[in-house]
Symmetry: C2
Amino acid sequence: MSKPSIPQGTRDFSPEVMSKRKIIFNTIESVYASFGFMPLETPAIENLSTLTGKYGNEGDQLLFKILNNGDYLNGIDLNSEDYKSLLPKIAEKGLRYDLTVPLARYVVMNRHAIQFPFKRYQMQTVWRADRPQKGRYREFWQFDADVLGSESMLCEADFIRIYKTVFKKLGLDAYEIHINHRKLLEAITYKANASELFKSITVAIDKTDKIGVEGVKNELIKLGLNDSQVDTIQSLLIKQPLNKELLIELESKLSDIPIAKEAFADLYDLIDLCGDDASEIILNGNLARGLDYYTGCIFEVIPTSVKLGSISGGGRYDDLTSVFGSKEKIHGIGISFGIDRIYDVMDELNLFSNQVSYFTDVLFCPMDRNAIPYILKSAALLRNSGFKVEIYPSAVKLKKQLDYANYKAIQWAVIIGDDELKNNTVTLKNLVSGKQEQIPKESIEDYMKSN
Amino acid sequence: MSKPSIPQGTRDFSPEVMSKRKIIFNTIESVYASFGFMPLETPAIENLSTLTGKYGNEGDQLLFKILNNGDYLNGIDLNSEDYKSLLPKIAEKGLRYDLTVPLARYVVMNRHAIQFPFKRYQMQTVWRADRPQKGRYREFWQFDADVLGSESMLCEADFIRIYKTVFKKLGLDAYEIHINHRKLLEAITYKANASELFKSITVAIDKTDKIGVEGVKNELIKLGLNDSQVDTIQSLLIKQPLNKELLIELESKLSDIPIAKEAFADLYDLIDLCGDDASEIILNGNLARGLDYYTGCIFEVIPTSVKLGSISGGGRYDDLTSVFGSKEKIHGIGISFGIDRIYDVMDELNLFSNQVSYFTDVLFCPMDRNAIPYILKSAALLRNSGFKVEIYPSAVKLKKQLDYANYKAIQWAVIIGDDELKNNTVTLKNLVSGKQEQIPKESIEDYMKSN
């Protein structure tokens, strides 16, 4: 029998890795909840009619399709089929590709029960049949939050606050929050008399980090813009800390463009509604992601001490549900955290060591079978006080038990041999400092707290 | 465009339902962790070579298979294929069917990095293409814990303690923990000279709850047992609280059967290692689940105030990994909680109302756009103190804002109009009692705590 394996692009998460991932999950979840977001879960399996056509042609290729059960070929004349025509006949279901389309589907199906603003968070796995490569997986987690049915810039401001709170709790302080506004980009292309090329221009601009300002200039010229147009655009694509002075200056350069007014009104509003949290936001004219979908503010969070690309992104959109034939235009704003990237950044910066351990705090080490009943109550009391407590399940040699403690990075060993049994004591050993002491059985918790 | 739907046997979990499910998830997870279990996650997608043949023929039928991506028919001569022969050529991957086979696969692949006893918990979705019916889903959660590599009965005793702790925290007190021992069943069939029918006999016995003692008697007679054999078996299948006196009496009736000694040694040990937690365990001779796999103690937890079948089960096994060709016989013990059943029991008994709410505690209601910046700091302070806090994102009519608070079952509304802005106050309203009062802006937290 050959050794088992897992499919390309999927991963096992060992206890050590999971305990770190859980720190990220739990932190984001608790922060989302503290801002009034509510949990939602949708099935991993969706009808292909729900998923197909929502992610472009390339996305349709990347959907994992589930073979119908039973005799899936029943009634099909194979002679007249190729793999494309056969597909919808033998596979009616597929795996979730993101969390946005399921949200839209959920809202359309449950519109009667939903009251706006609807604030939901969702942390679930998604699947994409991408070619596996370093840092790109076929099965991975998304952790989204969206507010539906509110146009208030308080939503944007709250997401800024959520970023700051999450990364502060994770101990990750070297990052920048970049924002841009679709209407600012529209105003800039309008100013350069190049509105009809909006889409191609923003695709070029979005490559600034990769190919540099000169590279973007070449791309814009290839699109047919003249030097003056390119200069107009590039001189307006600033990347500076967001504040009112900056906006006033930029606004003066675009004062003749009507749509600019809407962008600036939003940005002034954002500064006001962020309050003290407005500092550290960078207005980045080159941020031009997701413009097929985003209609207002766009967000991106970039770690600055590790080169790894963005660790979160999002934006405002004005139509979530028309893909499902809904006549009501549901607008909203959402962000998504990149769990794998955040993990990599924190691991590289050794930030997990500052977080509370997920593993056992105290290992009771019985040197004798009779020591186990002797310590049951002590173990239960410590658990009641919130400690994670194990009793080594058999009275093997102490070295073996301490090896186990070491393997699980357990701080405290409580050793019980004949002497301790006789004297109603335990020997408490701090496995970090190496210090050990025989103390009364009742004093374990007090001793640990004061040592 | 037709209204979207979700596949049969799958579910959306609304925020209201999710918030209750999370109470169950978090409780079980924190209890598992408090006993030193560590989290593990494995991919949803496994190779079909890993899954096939592990769950019997019926199980193989119930696996969800994933169609290969791209031109999955490339190189296949469809004329010589039927749906069974074509299947392994067009689908190489499938969805996880349970959490035990992935655990075994993980252990075989990572044996070098694992130190025994290996205590892992795993909470993930599994998929089965069962015919959907009430209470049976095609996508559902399992929440397992296993200890590998220890034969100590402390593992069994710890699982008893885990049951008691979990259900106490959930407020679910009307339940029984049933245990049995495979070797006791073997001893009983041996005593009745019917060892060769062990499997069929235990299948019949396991139906006692459904068809009654008389029904089981008829089944045993159909198997070819005579009245005396049936009497011997049924007289030894007791269902009584587990204690030493009961064991002594039962042991005396099986004193001539060697394998009975092993069962009784385990059960005496269990009582000793449970300590005070041994009360409330029922020795149930009719519990005969999973005997293809279990080799020692078997567990089942039955709610007693709601007729819903078991809410958890488990048992000891002596060979996890030989299905993957491992020569090392890895023994262990595991349990699994039935999340959907626990949810149904708690919902029926209205036990969720005693649990902490997952939703917003405080809603700030601005009567004026200027009220929003005025209260940003207060909202941040409350969040820092652990409250879940929302600011209604626009200054719409108070009635609309309070409707929203009502929809989310929010207890506190903090109302800010012209008067409050002028006086540096807020109006705090308890939406449960209806009482409201104008207080200084700094006193919100103190007021909530004392009212």
